[in-house]
């Protein structure tokens, strides 16, 4: 029997949602300060308005729904899924006020793309966007990459029980440290240290490349946030092609790979266990997957004769592949060049790379390497069972921080999420085909949205159909939260209607 949610359930959800909204309103102080710093007072006002509306709503929710009840798993999941929708609306409102978006839906698309670290953009006249709005677009990636709820967990939520439920709801099923709040703070520490290093590195390269000092370091900070959080936004409409720099490409590849590594692995490396980097199933799977898929990309580009020299082929092919595999979405070619110049084989390889993604408990989207590794090990175990004598005991292990025996429930969970991702990719492609896009193009864009990548073959544009925009928003949201919170929200609504 399905139980109808009672008023206490709703009050508890709204109370935590209010707290998170209050946290979100405070993050809008960052672009506000950037606006004041650069003398963009209208842009600063946009964040004051959006921030105040978010704060008022948050305060009212806290005020009206205050209670001391423990949060249930269901409530935790619903808080997370609603948080992402509320964050999209609040953040989108500030961007909409900039006048650089065709509609409020476009601004919401941009914010969801930012928070979900996707990087697909509908911004118009991006090259004239104020610094404040540019900064916010990239901050959404930084917040979303670490997890919006993690921000609140780190600073606003007392007690680790409710915190853990929300932490898991935000597609983080691994704790770096025993306490979930310590884990959240560690994730922030890692991100901020890398942010400082990345900004200095990319800023210095920009300076050497002839950019003005303030632009070099502003772009450095923005591009780092987008690279480490495997987002894909850039401050200019040409994406990474704007910089015309090999050094910039190398530096962003390093940032993207750092972002695609499990935070748990970062912790191991930081605490001196560097061997783990080579032994871990996720890093091994990522290395193998990138190598194999690059062979396909290169073969496709060679056959189509897209690039005349091997060096050019490597530079363009490898960059787009790593960008897709890590879920970043930086491009050094124009979106239309994918379709016009790249062969189908290369495109399919990039689609696979996007669909697979990086590591669990990282900032990437997609199926993820640990699941891929587990499925591979399970397949090997089954083959062994067939080959070896019936009485032989077949045991399969994998190394992820420690040696772990492969269990059926791990395989089941990995396969279930993988199937969900495949369905999401296909559904998006079908919707794209309804709007007359060829199958491969529609699949490319759909996978890019659902796996939170951001590479585009040209479909994503302000002129695309609103239904397609809504489909991609849903894909970005469901893909980022890895389905469970979305299913919980759907279940909550079903229970509210059909429950007794």
């Amino acid at each position: 029997m399905v139980l109808k949610p009672n008023l206490d359930d709703i009050k508890n959800i709204c109370f935590y949602l209010g707290k998170i909204m209050l946290g979100l309103s405070l993050t809008m102080l960052l672009p506000l300060m950037v606006g004041v710093l650069f003398g963009e007072y209208n842009a600063a006002l946009d964040y004051l308005i959006a921030g105040e509306i978010t704060a008022i709503t948050g305060l009212l929710l806290i005020f009206l729904c205050r209670n001391d009840k423990e949060m249930s798993w269901m409530q935790g999941m619903i808080v997370v899924s609603l948080t992402w929708i509320v964050a999209m609306l609040a953040g989108g409102f500030a961007l909409y006020l900039s006048g650089h978006f065709k509609s409020f839906l476009d601004a919401c698309f941009e914010t969801m793309s930012g928070f979900a670290t996707t990087g697909l953009t509908l911004c118009q006249d991006m090259d004239h966007l104020p610094y404040a709005h540019q900064f916010w677009r990239h901050v959404t990636m930084f917040l979303g990459g670490q997890g919006i709820v993690i921000v609140a967990l780190s600073f606003f939520v007392k007690g680790s029980s409710g915190a853990f439920k929300m932490y898991v709801g935000e597609a983080r099923d691994e704790r770096v440290l025993p306490n979930v709040i310590s884990t959240s703070r560690f994730i922030w520490l890692v991100s901020l240290v890398y942010l400082a290093l990345g900004t200095v590195t990319l800023g210095s390269i920009g300076l050497l490349n002839g950019m003005r000092a303030h632009n070099a370091f502003f772009h450095g900070a923005c591009v780092f946030m987008a690279a480490f959080d495997t987002g894909g936004f850039t401050p200019q409409s040409q994406n990474i092609l704007y910089y015309h720099s090999f050094a910039y490409e190398v530096a962003t590849i390093v940032c993207m790979l750092l972002g695609s590594i499990n935070f748990k692995l970062h912790y191991q490396v930081w605490t001196g266990n560097r061997k783990e980097l080579f032994k871990n199933i996720e890093s091994s799977a990522l290395f193998v997957s990138i190598s194999l898929l690059f062979i396909l990309v290169a073969a496709g580009l060679e056959r189509s004769g897209t690039y005349s020299s091997a060096i050019t082929l490597f530079r363009k092919g490898f960059y787009q592949l790593v960008s897709g595999h890590t879920g970043t979405g930086f491009q050094t070619i124009y979106a239309q060049q994918f379709v016009n110049e790249w062969s189908d084989l290369s495109l399919v390889a990039v689609v696979f790379a996007m669909g697979l993604g990086g590591a669990i408990c990282s900032t990437t989207g997609g199926i993820k390497m640990l699941r891929l590794g587990i499925i591979y090990k399970a397949l090997r175990e089954d083959i062994k069972r067939i080959i070896l004598p019936e009485k032989a005991v077949v045991v399969q292990k994998f190394h992820h921080i420690k040696d772990i025996f492969l269990e059926d429930k791990q395989v089941r969970s990995a396969l279930l999420i993988t199937v969900c991702y495949f369905l999401l990719y296909i559904v998006g492609a079908l919707v794209g085909m309804i709007f007359h896009y060829p199958f491969l193009d529609a699949l490319f864009e759909s996978t890019s949205a659902a796996a939170n990548v951001g590479l585009s073959c040209g479909i994503t544009a302000p002129g695309m159909h609103p239904l397609l925009k809504l489909t991609y928003i849903f894909q970005m949201w469901a893909g980022r939260l890895e389905f469970m919170s979305v299913f919980a929200l759907a279940g909550f609504f079903v229970a509210a209607v059909k429950g007794k």
Partner: protein, 169 residues
């Protein structure tokens, strides 16, 4: 008399040839009609290696690389990188951003679909640059409606905070 007319025609012919060759030699010679970025990207294979005229607004930074520079030009659809001598880029007064409308320039040069010199980038190696329209500083107009909204919302925030404080007390 006839030889005089012939010599006048000869001089005129020489002058007209010079008029045609001089722009080519100085790099200003280009197709009369500007081509859009979407044509360049869509028909990149057909246009590869040809001399094109590309018009648009200079955006971002002029990035100096030794005696050359990268100038990104946006024609309203896409921006394309143009590689040109730094001395040529120095004629640009304004580059586009939030506070500036960049110079609208016409660049003639060789179009590359995948430039072998620049790692396969789609670019234009400029031979000539002409400022079509000068850019300008954009003065931000204060938005009164936004200011009033902030004023009202700040009042509401204070009210809610007082209400919460009152209830707590």
């Amino acid at each position: 008399m006839r030889t005089r007319i012939e010599s006048i025609f000869r001089v005129l012919g020489f002058v007209s040839v010079l008029c045609f060759l001089w722009p080519c030699a100085t790099g200003v010679c280009a197709p009369a009609e500007a081509v859009s970025s979407s044509v360049l990207i869509h028909a990149a294979k057909e246009m590869d290696g040809t001399t094109v005229l590309f018009e648009g607004e200079v955006i971002g930074d002029i990035m100096r690389r030794g005696t050359y520079a990268w100038v990104n030009i946006h024609d309203g659809i896409n921006a394309i990188g143009c590689w040109m001598p730094f001395a040529m880029a120095q004629t640009i007064a304004y580059t586009g951003n939030y506070k500036t409308k960049g110079d609208w320039v016409a660049v003639s040069g060789e179009f590359h679909r995948a430039c072998p010199m620049h790692g396969g980038d789609l670019d234009i190696h400029a031979h000539g640059l002409k400022i079509v329209r000068g850019g300008q500083v954009v003065i931000e107009q204060s938005d009164t409606a936004k200011k009033n909204t902030v004023f009202v919302l700040t009042g509401v925030v204070c009210l809610v905070l007082i209400l919460m404080r009152f209830k707590q007390a």
